[in-house]
Symmetry: C2
Subunit: 463 residues, 2 copies
């Protein structure tokens, strides 16, 4: 049963398991205590810190362990913003950061700070020069991920770090997705990572703050972890996390090459075997193990369940898989289709046969969902085209139904005529323009509905 969602969480690495078991016996005591159990715990903690710092590329006294990657990012952002309050209250971040960066930025904005968001291109890549242009003198902190967690696009972090260093602005790098593959290059100031992304146990994040970075921890602190992560240290998990990072790194170069081949195969074949699909993310500058695509006229949740029944565990950035009905802000920033979105992230050791089996199963799973929704291509087109333009009322319908109704209506109108879709689904604002882009139709724009929630989206048939 292939698990293709390692970008969410990786199963425990055998090395991590072994280290965890050993240190449950040796490292459960309070490392602040003077007795032998405390001293033993302290030694394990110190050794884990040395190992993790070496893998990150910083000094041991620059690195603390946090209870999660999320908390590492939260503390990193709030600590630098507070430490550099005199410099200014501006935070610069990319549009495609992980939600934990967005949440920390929201708190900063609610507290009266300003947040500048740097957009990306259609591949999800942030331009280094556009990012650098936002580094005004009052910028307290800049945040850029090393690689995107949803589409795998690698960001120009080294270049941006140089620009930040030149501007005197510390750069925080969320390295959660890339850290298993190697250290982050460039003169970054703060770095965050998460152990369960590299086969470590849950409950361990890491936060590196390079010497010379002004840092003032926020909220209540204690004497643990240099005052940067309050609460009793989770030493068995920390030891396991450090051991796992070393083990994963030892295999990284060989495994990256192998997975890159499998992902290339997936990118090529998905586009070939699934009609109306958009494979997203930068085709070259990308994480080795991750590929994302969106399927028109597909309900993401239904597709995930279909793939799950067929034995494949994947994830999705579609709104129709989340409780919030808001599509992934990453896909939104890229301007790509969000409906029927599937993220495949391969664990180390994935076999070519598993990938081939996925490619065999996928077209049928997509077809099934489209048929159930009555999507275009799945049902016979209605006889005869209608003359002139039409209005489609999709109020109350949720993704992907508005786009399906649009596509069916476009088939019925002559070239040159328009289809207006009335929809109160927030996702339509993203998916209708994206549908036009992929289908070669012309998106004319949207206007608010009178007296109702939602908007009217106008499309002209071109082909």
């Amino acid at each position: 049963m292939p698990y293709f969602d390692v970008a969410s969480a990786a199963p425990l690495h055998p090395v991590a398991r072994e280290a965890l078991l050993a240190s449950l016996d040796e490292g459960w005591a309070d490392p602040a205590r003077l007795h032998r159990e405390g001293r033993r715990a302290r030694m394990l903690l110190d050794a884990a810190r040395e190992a993790a710092a070496e893998a990150v590329g910083c000094r041991a006294d620059e690195l603390v362990f946090t209870p999660s990657g999320t908390q590492a990012v939260h503390s990193g952002i709030s600590g630098v913003l507070a430490g550099r309050r005199r410099a200014g209250r501006r935070l610069v971040r990319s549009a495609v950061e992980h939600s934990c960066v967005l949440h920390a930025a929201q708190v900063h904005a609610a507290d009266g700070g300003s947040v500048a968001v740097v957009g990306c291109d259609r591949s999800g890549r942030v331009a280094a020069d556009r990012f650098a242009a936002e580094l005004t003198p009052d910028t307290a902190l800049a945040a850029l991920q090393s690689a995107n967690h949803e589409v795998g696009t690698v960001q120009p972090v080294a270049e941006v770090a140089e620009a930040c260093a030149a501007a005197g602005v510390p750069l925080l790098v969320d390295a959660a997705q890339s850290l298993p593959w190697g250290p982050v290059a460039g003169p970054w100031s703060v770095l965050a990572g998460s152990a369960h992304k590299w086969g470590g146990p849950p409950g361990v994040g890491l936060l590196a703050v390079r010497k010379g970075t002004r840092f003032a921890p926020r909220g209540p602190v204690d004497e643990r972890e240099a005052g940067r992560a309050p609460g009793f240290e989770n030493i068995p998990a920390i030891v396991a996390a450090a051991a796992s990072l070393r083990a994963v790194r030892a295999e990284a170069a060989a495994e990256a090459g192998r997975l890159r081949g499998l992902v290339a195969r997936l990118r090529e074949r998905v586009a070939a075997v699934v009609p109306d699909v958009e494979v997203v993310g930068d085709p070259e500058r990308r994480l080795p193990h991750l590929v994302t695509f969106s399927c028109l006229y597909v309900d993401g949740e239904a597709l995930l369940h279909g793939l799950d029944r067929a034995g494949f565990s994947v994830s999705s950035g579609s709104s129709c898989t989340s409780s919030t009905l808001t599509p992934s802000h990453v896909l939104k920033a890229m301007g790509v289709l969000s409906e029927g979105n599937v993220r495949v992230s391969l664990p180390c050791g994935t076999g070519a046969d598993e990938v081939e089996r996925f490619l065999e199963v996928l077209p049928g799973a997509v077809r099934e969902v489209r048929a159930a929704l009555g999507a275009p291509g799945a049902v016979a087109a209605p006889a005869g085209g209608e003359a002139g333009s039409v209005v489609v009322d999709a109020l109350g319908a949720r993704c992907p139904v508005p786009v399906i109704e649009l596509a069916k209506a476009v088939e019925r109108v002559p070239v040159g005529a328009t289809v207006t879709v009335r929809s109160d689904d927030e996702v339509a604002a993203l998916d209708i323009p994206a549908w036009c882009w992929t289908q070669g139709q012309e998106y004319l724009g949207e206007r608010p509905l009178e007296g109702e929630r939602g908007a009217a989206y106008v499309v002209r048939r071109r082909v």
Copy 2:
């Protein structure tokens, strides 16, 4: 090698170990995901929440898991203070709360809030009526521990909870030390606990917020744990923590009775076999497994090392064991001696023979430290008493030296004469009055030194 520091951290309970191993295989995935691994993780998390809520005495939807007991307290305090900001900005806490409560209160005060501190008696017990008298209409939150972590004194939580309910003030109970022994009685509003105190793994705290309590989480939040504990859930550790709490509770009544007998034996015999010792904490209303005493003329760190060499792991609230040179705020609030302080906290299963062995070893260990420091009783008293009052210069000397010099000087002056000790050790302000109290001498007070840090402490010889 007996480990008598279970109040700092307990070794992993066998049930916790078993549950942890099983859920490392079953519960590593992201419970927010729709695939089978995610659903399995979600089921484990839900079941652990049910079990923990039953043990706490709340509804499952009132309980979230945090990365530590410390973070549960921090979030609990900041969440209620923010949620009840309209009611007022006053926080009432006892003087003997755990440092994590003090840290959260400091942040509140730095943010412009007010903090009222309710003192305790010499046994460490807070009077319910004194606490209730502080519940003014502008009180947003009150915090009282269920039992003290340093001296074992149980607090009148049920009574205080009733008073808080009557005043319309939510009560937060730090139940870290008592939760293994049973649920907290009374209409409390918020409760915090820590799994590694009951044989669960590190990395798990719990925060219960009863329905109807206004609560607004502070800082960045995400969708996990009802928005009250951001970051990836540590499900294997959570499952182990819940299993361990049930297992410990099943043994609690029988084990409490047994340990209570051992602690009574310790309290009685320590006072008998060690000269110049003060056994602290309420003799009756106390945790079953914990006893604390302070030894005059003893350096706490040296005594801990001596006991460690003899095979016993204990902890201490003395300043001479910490990096800060500040004595335990708990001992300070109680007004008891802090020097040579030892806390013995017995794990479940401790044998009577281990306790007897400790009692055999202790007097020699104390004697050895006193001899090395040239303490009174350890060295021959100087021949002949000096007439009249004397001044002892102990500037630059650290605990327990100022008290040792005081005791030696008192032996040399006639009854009725005074000894003035000049000391710049912060602990002297606590330990010199406490020494007078235990020795039947009269403490006349202190005055600042002219042009120097420190004070002159004046004692009249009575006996």
